[in-house]
């Protein structure tokens, strides 16, 4: 159980207020130039690569979604066992993730949107579409559960509480589709920047949140996701959100470290939310 205290809403509002005075600069987030980026380069000799020379991201990876943190204690025929669900792919923070961009704790909204974001967050159990089984969208869904990397396109597969989702990401240099309808996961194209797979996504609906704390956005949102392999074989995932309509500046979230995971990807059971009508107050916690 992960309860959110209401004072977090106040903290969020404060953070937004403090940071929103910065001027918006809609520049692409920079390619890593830190010593951490050098560490990534230094590790490439051990990296698994495809025939075309790029790091091979294919495979099953740990969950990037939020599930309960507790253990299950099972008693079977008198034998007691304890099982734990590892949430590290979702919630761990490792400041020294090699190759990671600098990140901020919270996005900076323009002043005219700060009150709305604080309201959405405070009333999350009433206002969050994800609470009611809707799609989390990009990048809120997090890292993919399975990656299928091919020469001209890469496919991301997800298991999410809202359902199974896929994203087909062309990597053959084509531009964004001109005829696609806006969607929760948007229209993606991918490219390699050295050993980092960079996915640029546009053409969003404006009814998803890009983060858990009421982080609404406009249909002008542009998301840059970066995925790269770490020396130990884990996958790193980091997302940057640009939205000149509502954000005072682009926001880069922390880098997640996702271990490989051989569990088969499975169909998500139907999502049938039945608690919203029973809520007696607006207490809430993180979704995902």
């Amino acid at each position: 159980m992960r309860l959110h205290l209401e004072n977090r809403a106040m903290t969020l509002a404060g953070v937004v207020l403090l940071t929103a005075t910065l001027a918006y600069t809609q520049a692409p987030a920079p390619v890593p130039t830190t010593k951490a980026a050098k560490a990534t380069t230094a590790s490439t000799v051990k990296m698994r690569r495809t025939a075309d020379g790029h790091p091979d991201l294919s495979g099953n990876w740990y969950f990037g979604i939020d599930l309960p943190h507790g253990d299950l204690v099972k008693v079977v025929d008198g034998k007691v066992t304890r099982s734990h669900f590892d949430q590290s792919a979702r919630h761990s923070i490792q400041n020294e993730v090699p190759g990671a961009l600098p990140w901020d704790k919270a996005p900076s909204y323009k002043p005219e949107y700060q009150e709305k974001v604080a309201y959405l967050f405070k009333n999350e159990s009433k206002t969050d579409p994800v609470f009611y089984c809707d799609k989390p969208g990009t990048p809120r869904i997090g890292s993919p559960r399975k990656i299928v990397q091919m020469p001209k396109e890469t496919i991301f597969l997800y298991e999410d509480i809202s359902g199974n989702t896929f994203r087909v990401i062309p990597t053959d240099g084509r531009p964004h589709r001109a005829d696609a309808n806006p969607s929760a996961f948007g229209d993606s194209i991918g490219r390699w920047e050295k050993d980092t797979f960079v996915v640029e996504t546009t053409n969003f609906l404006d009814d998803t949140w890009f983060g858990e704390n009421g982080y609404m956005h406009s249909d002008k949102m542009r998301v840059i996701e970066r995925l790269w392999l770490l020396p130990d074989g884990n996958l790193a995932y980091q997302a940057t959100v640009e939205d000149p309509a509502v954000l005072a500046k682009p926001w880069t979230n922390y880098a997640r470290v996702i271990p490989p995971n051989n569990d088969p990807i499975e169909e998500s059971p139907a999502c049938k939310e039945d608690d919203g009508q029973r809520l007696l107050n607006t207490d809430h916690h993180l979704q995902r």
Partner: protein, 137 residues
């Protein structure tokens, strides 16, 4: 603060030893966390759905009347990851089981299941007592 300590979790654990549950909302927004109750009845149905698995149980009251209770618990993918499948619950359909739950504050026959004991004595229970700290931005 990169390390968020969930005092609320600790508080609940201290108030109600043994009770641990997760919900996609704050459990206290629905359930009376201070009054765990134990019920015995016949399991009638298991719904393996998100965001919570759901079970139904017929409970006979002191007056002999049968009341159908509905329980939710952790998400299906959580259960499969800790080695419990739908069939493990469904095997008890039609049989008498004992459950420990916290019930809805509004008095409806609705609860959050944190422990179930099957007819053969086998048990599943949720335990967050080991989860004292969560790292989060």
């Amino acid at each position: 603060m990169k390390h968020r300590i969930y005092f609320a979790l600790l508080g609940v654990a201290m108030l109600v030893p043994g009770v641990a549950l997760w919900a996609h909302h704050s459990p206290s927004a629905i359930f009376d966390m201070k009054k765990p109750i134990t019920l015995t009845g016949v399991m009638t149905k298991v719904d393996w759905v998100n965001p919570h698995i759901v079970m139904f149980m017929d409970v006979k009251g002191a007056d002999g009347a049968v009341v159908n209770w509905k329980f939710e618990s952790n998400p299906p993918r959580w259960f499969t990851k800790v080695g419990v499948n739908r069939a493990d619950f469904a095997a008890a359909v039609g049989q008498s089981v004992t459950v420990e739950i916290v019930a809805a504050i509004d008095g409806s026959k609705y609860g959050y299941l944190h422990k179930i004991t099957f007819p053969n004595g086998n048990q599943f229970s949720l335990d967050e007592s080991q989860t004292k700290e969560e790292i989060h931005p």
